[in-house]
Assembly symmetry: C2
Homo-oligomer: 110 residues x 2
DNA sequence: ACAAGACTTGAAAAAGTCTTCAATCCATCA
DNA sequence: TGATGGATTGAAGACTTTTTCAAGTCTTGT
């Protein structure tokens, strides 16, 4: 038997827990990108990008192939797209709840 | 204007990126739990549990209320349940792909 | 008022992650 | 072959998170 599922889940979410990796996955969810294309979209140094790509590769969330002089990445888990959308929905919901609470504070003040 | 959305997403996923926090959310997704009840289910020291609950509270993923001598926690973002299910599906998919690849290795060997 | 159970806090040490740098690899083109 | 553009690697240092400990709060029952 392997690792408990709750631990695998934690590792999986931790992999998503970095702004550059989120950007990478969002871009790859649209279409495959060469590394230099990712580099144009994400404000980060080349070697840092490589390190983040390596993290995603190790967890099998992306795969790379060499195409002549460049390396092209694709997402290997398209379902991640749904996860990113779900997160967006939740975050917007939390932000709204927060704003409401702040309104209450103002309305209720004194 | 606030934080870029991709950064908020990363923070959100980082919050999910810990085994104890996953367990807590799974238990709270079922029903509210007092801290001592969580403690029975999760192999962790009381003060560590408190620290993890504090992380979830800071990010507004759970709320607590005192009920006499004990403190009861509830999930404030029920949609997290879907996220945990989606992660399970993805992980099972990845594990299967992995297993297939290993079969290939064996079949192809020599 | 005191003791006991339930929980939280702050702070220090341990463990883990992120960023950056220099070195390297690999394919193409002059 | 040597130079160039594109990408990766390993390792060091900075930074963050996790764990643990001792001390403290709050509520109930005696």
């Amino acid at each position: 038997m392997g690792v408990p599922l709750y631990q695998a889940k934690a590792e999986f979410f931790r992999t998503l827990g970095h702004p550059a990796r989120i950007r990478i996955l969002e871009l790859l969810a649209e279409r495959d990108h060469a590394v230099h294309e990712l580099l144009e979209q994400i404000a980060i140094e080349p070697s840092n990008l490589s390190q983040q790509l390596a993290v995603l590769r190790r967890t099998s969330m992306v795969v790379s192939r060499r195409q002549g002089g460049q390396v092209v990445y694709s997402i290997s888990v398209p379902e991640v797209r749904d996860l990113l959308l779900a997160a967006r929905t939740i975050l917007v919901g939390l932000a709204e709840a927060q704003a409401e609470f702040e309104d209450d504070l103002i309305v209720t003040r004194d």
